[in-house]
């Protein structure tokens, strides 16, 4: 790791003032620190966001869920309040990385990195979540802009994630057995108006995406069988040493069925 300077602000404003083109926000650090150790990133300054109260805490009021950006995967996975209204989401958080990684990694850090194999983006797209930052609010659709790319400006930081709990939600992923990242993960949710959201992680060469075909099929019949005749177009899907685009296309269908099966 190249030399860097560590900062520990206690407010969002203080953190934003420290930000610059060469600096990086440090949340749980479970991606950033390994990247720095490989010298693939060399920020001049690290701005630790773990000690800012405004970024912490989970609130669930009725069906409205608000998760502070600095909440860890472990806090989300074990939140009885979220589990009560959106169990698919807590299941997803409880299957990121491993227990030690979940104790440190945060939802804000994960979505700001927008790794194509990260889990949360699929859920936030499917749920139609809102991403709050220190300067504005963005729909998940507008926030995730591509591979490791988001709409965040240089000094901007995610402060919270908000969504309305659906009637049913489920997540299923096929993990790479070595990295534990999703080779394909599918989040499904059914809302009270009957509409359905389907988000796909780990498969798109442009990052997570929604699947309108699967959403339409499930809107009429929210059962695994409804996806039986769906065929997913492999163009636009990743092909790498782990799986071909065709294999991932099939995984989307299989994980989609399992997610529907598990949805509660």
């Amino acid at each position: 790791m190249y030399a860097t300077t560590y900062h520990r602000p206690t407010s969002v404003d203080e953190a934003a003032k420290l930000a610059s083109e060469e600096a990086k926000y440090l949340s749980g650090g479970q991606t950033l620190l390994p990247t720095m150790k490989q010298r693939l990133a060399a920020p001049s300054d690290l701005i630790d966001l773990r000690h800012i109260d405004a970024l912490k805490g989970i609130t669930v009021e009725g069906g409205n869920v608000r998760i502070g950006a600095a909440c860890t995967h472990s806090e989300i996975a074990t939140s009885e309040a979220i589990k009560g209204v959106c169990p698919g989401f807590t299941y997803l958080a409880g299957h990121i990385g491993d227990p030690a990684v979940r104790h440190m990694g945060t939802i804000g850090g994960s979505i700001a990195n927008n790794d194509p194999a990260a889990d949360y983006p699929s859920a936030l797209l499917a749920l139609g979540a809102t991403i709050r930052t220190n300067t504005r609010s963005l729909a998940a659709e507008d926030f995730f802009t591509g591979l490791f790319e988001t709409a965040l400006d240089e000094r901007e930081m995610v402060t919270a994630v908000e969504f309305t709990a659906p009637d049913k939600s489920g997540y299923s992923k096929f993990r790479n057995p070595a990295s534990r990242y999703a080779m394909t993960g599918v989040f499904v949710c059914k809302r009270s108006d009957g509409s359905v959201g389907v988000g796909v992680a780990g498969a798109g060469s442009d990052g997570a995406f929604r699947s309108p075909d699967m959403e339409r099929a499930l809107a009429g019949d929210f059962t695994p069988a409804a996806l039986e005749n769906i065929s997913i177009d492999p163009s636009g899907l990743m092909s790498d040493m782990h799986a071909s685009a065709e294999y991932r296309a099939n995984l989307i269908k299989v994980m989609g069925k399992r997610a529907v099966q598990q949805a509660v």
Binding site: M1, Y2, A3, T4, T5, Y6, R8, L26, G29, Q30, L33, P34, M36, K37, L46, D48, R50, S74, G97, D98, P99, A100, V101, H103, M104, A178, R180
Partner: protein, 163 residues
């Protein structure tokens, strides 16, 4: 440079290190506590697991500066007065180690796991909770056995204490 003060195994320690110093380096090189191991250095193997403020974390994936002001427990902090911690004793009893390199991380992970599950563990849970710890010798079987035995021992111990 960072001025670090933290509690390590109940003792307040201070030291100066670079801002980029990893927690595991601070523990091993600055504090001389070499029980915490570095296996992969890529957050995969779990040999470096310690507890920070009561939670198991990979000390190769945390800066010492991030842990400034925290309470850290390492493998050296588990035994009390020459008596092994129940998890350590169970690993010895059930041959939960061969070369021993992964053992500090396995035991720190096991203690955290037993605490989070309130001692109520089954084999499937133990195996999936060991996701972040790699052992190249044992095939995990005796590690799982040791953790289940320790969980039972600790569970029954707390029951006795409660009565």
């Amino acid at each position: 440079m960072a001025e670090i003060t933290m509690t390590v195994n109940g003792r307040t320690v201070s030291g100066t290190c670079e801002d980029r110093t990893l927690l595991v380096q601070f523990i091993r090189e600055n504090q001389g506590l070499t029980g915490t191991h570095v296996g992969c250095d890529t957050s995969q193997c779990g040999a470096c697991v310690v507890h920070v403020d009561g939670k198991a974390v990979k000390s190769c994936t945390m800066l010492a500066a991030q842990a400034n002001g925290s309470e850290v427990t390492t493998i050296e902090g588990l035994a009390s007065g020459g008596e092994l911690h129940p998890v350590q004793a169970a690993f010895r009893e059930h041959h939960g180690l061969q070369c021993g390199f992964c053992t500090p991380g396995m035991i720190m992970t096991a203690v955290d796991m037993i605490r989070r599950h309130d001692g109520k563990l089954d084999e499937h849970t133990v195996r999936s909770e060991l996701d972040g710890n790699i052992c190249r010798c044992t095939g995990y079987h005796n590690i799982v056995k040791a953790i289940l035995a320790a969980a039972e021992e600790m569970g029954s111990g707390s029951k006795v204490a409660a009565e």
